[in-house]
């Protein structure tokens, strides 16, 4: 129960001379919702991408389910990635496939699930994100909010243990933010472990178990949302919140 699903130990990441992540050690327990906030360019995306090894850490460990991902070979990394769904700011739906095909592709090709089973599961997931009537549409015909909900369904189709969200609502028109956040909130309520990078403070306050504040290559604060928002400890965080909340 207390065993964390993700444990990061002394994680560092450089791009050339640019030390983006300096020394990060944190853990995520099963069922937790973590919201990561911080100024733009502080390395939030890089951190998230280090968790599923889309970026290779320069040093340190990323333990997932008790295994250090940084020591695994490519094949094992692929199978571990299946268990960590990722949702991107720009949706990254495959434009050459329908909504249904987008969702079915990985389960069929990676897990070898039959077309019938994959189709059935895809429809279930589409119902879950309220888009079953768009199954045969192509991504270009969808609104941003719809596209992002399809992207969430696509990630869920692999039955991941953890979902990573990188600013899922930043590219959306304001009126569409709500529909995506609702889907994420439902997911959290169902017990999904989630790491969410977002600027939606309302979501952080109502859904997050912990808020991590990232700046200058470190997690500066790790606290409950109530404590973090009412009483930020570091000057960096106070400064950030005062800019965001006005």
């Amino acid at each position: 129960m207390t065993k964390p699903i993700i444990e990061v130990k002394n994680l560092a990441k450089n791009f050339g001379d640019n030390q983006v992540l300096k020394d990060i050690s944190e853990q995520v327990d099963t069922g937790q919702v973590i919201v990561v906030i911080g100024p733009s360019g502080s390395g939030k995306s890089t951190f998230l991408r280090c968790l599923n090894l889309l970026e290779t850490p320069t040093s340190g460990e990323v333990d997932f389910d008790g295994q250090d991902l940084t020591t695994l070979d490519t094949k094992k990394v692929n199978t571990l990635r299946e268990q960590m769904g990722m949702v991107f700011q720009n949706f990254n739906l495959f434009p050459n496939m329908t909504v249904l095909e987008n969702i079915k592709l990985a389960p069929m090709k990676v897990k070898g699930i039959s077309d019938t089973d994959a189709t059935k599961r895809a429809h279930e997931l589409l119902k879950q994100v309220n888009l079953d009537d768009h199954a045969d549409a192509f991504p270009t015909s969808l609104s941003g909010g719809q596209a992002q909900r399809v992207a969430i369904a696509r990630a869920l189709a692999m039955d991941p243990k953890v979902m990573l969200f990188d600013e899922p609502t930043s590219a959306l028109d304001p009126e569409m933010v709500g529909e995506v956040l609702n889907v994420m909130q439902d997911l959290a309520q169902q017990g999904m472990t989630m790491v969410v990078v977002t600027h939606e403070m309302g979501f952080a306050k109502s859904v997050a178990d912990r808020v991590w504040f990232m700046a200058d290559g470190y997690i500066q604060e790790n606290n409950t949302p109530e404590a973090f928002f009412s009483n930020p400890q570091t000057e960096r965080a106070q400064d950030f919140l005062s800019k965001i909340l006005m």
């Binding site: 889309l54 960590m84 990985a106």
Partner: protein
């Protein structure tokens, strides 16, 4: 065209020289050339059939075939050896390379046994002693008397032939222009690009008797016997084969078969030949040309595409020494192919690879053009892959897909859609560029039109016909490709 061809030949010759040298020395050591021919039961004769009455294309029983006195000589030699004669057509320049690389067993093409040629091949005794004439336009009769009348003018001769070299040596103040085919030279004469064409007397006679606009004058070239005599060429060191052929050649000389039988027979073909020179009459020849052009193009694009995909993936290989080596190799290949003329590549595959495996001309052509096209297509595909958003790869990888699956199901389909217009262009370019394989004797459209030209003695009409045919093919192809492009955009 001429310079490119000569350069191409020089390059191919140089490249195959090493192999050729080893094969010829091996042959000299143990000469089994005669036994080899007898064992396979065929004697392959290489010739350039645009030189009547020596050799030319004629329609016999509705089928186009090579006839002429040289073919009769070849038949006699084959018969005396107890084997079947197979005639293979190619451009005059390619003949000796074909002999050295084993594409043909012998060359009979009105060829003079000059000392320079003797260095590379073995000749039989002379089977025919000719002389040179100059063909002129009939209207110019009286202006030109012999080789010395062309000061300040231009005369033409077949590239690589003895006439060409002698015309250069023995005239002063006269420009000598070389062309690959005699049909082209006659066309040049009639369109007044040339004032005279030097060729062997029997050929001159054939042209003049078939074309009322032409006349012939004596050349008065000062020539040694070897410059006016015609011999059969064999690969260097095939002593037994040459000795056997010499028996036939000696009989031909003794019984004067050329003048008594072969030339009159060839003359008959020349007469029947000119009965119907309408282009419609030759629709079968053109159709065959279209067929081969399309076969070459479609096959080359298909194999070129597969090669292109592999090359582009190799060029983007990541990680490890192996990947680096692969990347380096693929890059070197693409650069090399793009940096050398397709014509040289075609000749290299046909003559060069021919030393190792005996590939038919059509297959050599398809291989060479596929290899060439693959390099260009690889570059289009690489560009197409780079144009696909990186987010697509990240999304696929985050779903647990391997890099191979990601490429195959996500990136490549999108890349192909982006480069479809470029691929279409490549296809249309190949319809036109496939004509290069005519130099190794593949009966595609250009080659067929050359046959029709030498068959009908009409210079321009066949060119006009194939121009229209090429346009119809490329235009239809581009319509079809546009249709698919529009369909793909709907997705």
């Amino acid at each position: 065209m001429k310079n490119k061809l000569i350069m191409a030949i020089a390059l191919v010759m140089a490249l195959v020289a090493g192999w050729a040298a080893t094969t010829t020395t091996a042959q000299a050591a143990t000469d089994n050339s005669l036994a080899k021919v007898q064992k396979k039961g065929t004697l392959i004769m290489g010739t350039s059939p645009d030189y009547p009455p020596y050799e030319f294309q004629a329609t016999v029983h509705g089928k186009s075939q090579v006839v002429g006195m040289d073919v009769a000589v070849g038949k006699k030699i084959a018969k005396d050896l107890g084997v079947k004669l197979v005639v293979k057509s190619m451009s005059f320049d390619s003949l000796l390379v074909a002999l050295q690389t084993g594409k043909v067993d012998m060359v009979i093409s009105g060829m003079n046994p000059t000392p320079a040629r003797r260095k590379n091949v073995d000749f039989t005794h002379t089977y025919y002693q000719g002389g040179y004439s100059i063909v002129i336009n009939k209207n110019d009769k009286g202006i030109y008397k012999d080789k010395d009348s062309f000061v300040g003018k231009t005369i033409g001769a077949q590239t690589g032939s003895t006439m060409y070299n002698e015309s250069k040596k023995q005239t002063s103040g006269t420009t000598v222009k070389g062309m690959t085919s005699v049909s082209d030279l006659i066309l040049g004469l009639q369109s007044h690009k040339l004032q005279g064409v030097a060729m062997e007397k029997p050929s001159a006679q054939a042209y003049v008797s078939n074309n009322k606009e032409l006349a012939m004058i004596p050349s008065h070239f000062d020539l040694s016997a070897s410059d006016t005599s015609a011999s059969v060429a064999f690969a260097k060191g095939s002593t037994s084969l040459v000795a056997a052929a010499n028996k036939s050649v000696d009989q031909i000389r003794k019984q004067d078969l050329v003048n008594k039988d072969y030339l009159p027979a060839a003359g008959k073909y020349l007469k029947t030949n000119t009965v119907n020179t309408s282009m419609l009459h030759y629709w079968k020849a053109f159709l065959k040309g279209i067929e081969y052009t399309l076969i070459i193009t479609v096959c080359s694009v298909f194999f070129g595409f597969i090669l292109g995909v592999l090359l582009s993936l190799a060029r983007m290989a990541q990680g490890g020494v192996f990947a680096t080596a692969l990347r380096w190799l693929a890059t070197a290949y693409v650069e090399f192919i793009r940096g050398t003329p397709m014509m040289v590549q075609v000749m290299f595959v046909y003559f060069g690879l021919g030393l190792i495996v005996n590939l038919p001309a059509l297959m050599s052509g398809i291989i060479a053009i596929s290899l060439n096209s693959g390099a260009y297509i690889a570059e289009y595909i690489r560009g197409g892959i780079n144009s696909v958003d990186k987010g697509q790869t990240e999304a696929a990888r985050s779903l647990g897909m391997t890099s191979g699956y990601t490429m195959r199901y996500v990136v490549l389909p999108q890349a192909l859609k982006n480069i479809w217009p470029s691929l279409g262009n490549e296809f249309i370019t190949l319809i036109k560029d496939s004509s290069i394989v005519s130099i190794i004797g593949v009966s595609e459209l250009i080659f067929q039109s050359n046959i029709v030209r030498s068959d009908t003695y009409r210079g321009v009409a066949p060119i006009a016909v194939i121009m229209v045919l090429y346009f119809i093919m490329t235009f239809t192809a581009s319509r079809i490709l546009n249709h698919f492009e529009r369909k793909m955009q709907h997705d």
